[in-house]
């Protein structure tokens, strides 16, 4: 247990919008064992040096989700971030509030945008009144059915994923990783009877704006893997409903496009994805690209062994089966 202390310089974002015109970074210094969680260090700063620093925290054991913040540019739970590796990599610890939500004060953000996106996916069981639940006992559910939830029940709503997400940053229509992971949880719940409606709604409510960049999965402190569940939602939507949105249309078009030659036919993909009106709007850009890269106009040759690819499509795509 005897670990030597290390020098720990902190730069902490401070901002009280009611009294200050701009944020600033305040420096603090502590000497601490390297395994010390950042939250412990921040609380020590509050206790010994500056009780005006404000933040959210409660359980200190990564279950309540209160203390998510940005640590050396990464969205993290403060209670689960030991200072040692951060100091080794960066020489200091820069602490900032979560992104994509307005700052209330210092490290406290206004989380309403996050909560409202969560509520929007109707995160509660939707049941059919003509099919009541068994009276006096639990709905049966096999371990295999529980397994289908994957890790989504571990979510503690900390918003680290939301803070890390570039799609949330760029587009207010995107529900964000947590809301989509929650939607997945209800879509695979055998007690819920609204699977189809949920999938249909989410296709037009921004499912396909997910970039599959996996930054949410990296940020998540509970291994929920939201980006992988979003991928599952996309596939479920395509299988159940086909092309109802630009996103599903593009994914299906791409899949069908490859089948023909084995490699991508770029020009054809553009034609398959866009409606005639959209195509027309793309002409100026298309011309710019074609001028520099004329290959775009040519169809590629078929790959050798294309019949093998075609056969795989017959076996695995033409038959309508549920994914494994």
């Amino acid at each position: 247990m005897a670990e030597a202390n290390v020098a720990a310089p902190f730069e902490v974002f401070r901002f009280d919008p009611a009294h200050e015109s701009a944020p600033r970074y305040q420096r603090y210094h502590l000497d601490l064992p390297p395994h010390t969680p950042l939250l412990t260090a921040l609380l020590q700063i509050r206790a010994e040096q500056d009780p005006t620093l404000t933040m959210r925290y409660s359980c200190r054991s990564a279950i309540c989700g209160s203390c998510a913040m940005v640590v050396n540019s990464k969205s993290r739970l403060a209670c689960q971030t030991p200072i040692g590796p951060e100091l080794e990599r960066h020489g200091r610890i820069v602490v900032e509030p979560m992104r994509n939500m307005p700052v209330l004060r210092d490290l406290v953000v206004e989380m309403t945008p996050f909560w409202s996106r969560y509520k929007k996916v109707e995160p509660h069981l939707i049941t059919d009144p003509t099919q009541p639940m068994p009276e006096g006992r639990e709905n049966p559910m096999t371990p295999a059915q529980v397994e289908r939830f994957k890790e989504t029940p571990r979510c503690i709503a900390c918003a680290a994923c939301y803070s890390a997400c570039p799609a949330v940053e760029a587009d207010a229509q995107f529900p964000g990783p947590m809301a989509l992971a929650k939607l997945y949880r209800f879509v695979v719940d055998p007690r819920d009877t609204a699977h189809q409606e949920r999938l249909l709604r989410i296709q037009t409510d921004g499912l396909w704006l997910c970039l599959r960049c996996h930054l949410c999965t990296e940020a998540c402190p509970k291994d929920v893997e939201p980006s992988l569940r979003i991928r599952d939602l996309k596939e479920m939507a395509v299988r159940a409903q086909g092309a109802t949105d630009n996103g599903s249309r593009h994914a299906i078009a791409f899949k069908d496009n490859i089948r023909e030659r084995g490699i991508l036919n770029e020009m054809k993909l553009v034609r398959q994805t866009y409606s005639p009106g959209q195509l027309l709007a793309q002409v100026p850009q298309g011309l710019k690209i074609v001028r520099k890269k004329p290959e775009v106009l040519k169809s590629p040759h078929r790959i050798e062994g294309h019949d093998e690819v075609e056969k795989l499509y017959e076996i695995l795509d033409d038959a309508t089966e549920d994914p494994p």
């Binding site: 540019s73 799609a167 587009d171 990296e218 991928r231 593009h250 899949k255 690819v309």
Partner: protein, 295 residues
Amino acid sequence: MKVAYYPGCVAQESGKELDMATRWVARRVGIELVDFPNFSCCGSGFVDEANSVLNVALNARNLAIAERSNLDLLTVCSTCTGMLKLANVRLAEPAVRSRVDGALGQIGVTYRGTTKVKHLLEVLTDEIGTAALAKLVRRPLTGLKVGAFYGCHLLRPSKEIRGESAEEPHGFEDLIAALGATPVLYRGRVMCCGFPILFVKEPTANRIAATQIEDAHAHGADAMATPCPLCHISLDSYQNKAEKVVGHDLHMPVFHLPQLVGLALGATAEELGLPRHLVATDSALQKIGSVAVPA
């Protein structure tokens, strides 16, 4: 070293300059590229969303092609790398493996899982090594500040990809430094370029690209460099659209990884296909002096 060369679709088509630069660099650093005309598209993430098991099977076939020749697979696209590596991971699940094996069996293909998938970046930094590479430099890129842009699928999901750190990698920056240029660190370097939603909601994709370009610029980059031709499309071919979204010019040249390496090793702009870019690379070339190879 000898590798099965997997160029990916874009490098064979609109991103031909990537293939040109790759071949030029491979000759210089001693990588023998073996072409396979039967490789198919990796799916680019889109096929995975439409039919995951089909995507795994298609990539299992690709991996089996390399396996038959006892060669590792070299990619030059972050997205291809991610898709092929993920196929290996999914094939470790018994249910997926049995389904895919069943389908491959019907086309006479056996997947064994012995082929490694390596991106050119990893080969240059890990196998050839930045020190050896530095020795080959004929035109140090001194004075050029380069912001690396990794491309999501090279790094994440980290549990599966098991490559460099998913949020704080440094391999590309080490390479840039070995070439004599100055690597620029900025938050956007590990973020998304927006490409996957270019056909879904273009303005949002453009906005995302703009964010990363502006971030690189704000940190002093003269140019960006990327190991992914899809990122290149978003950042270069659609940079004009990104400019519309933010309301001002961006002027950020974007190099493919092997183009940057090629420049330092003495290639000409033509040999590397630089004139094909939509955003002129002249400003960056001027920073490193004449493009002619020194005697």
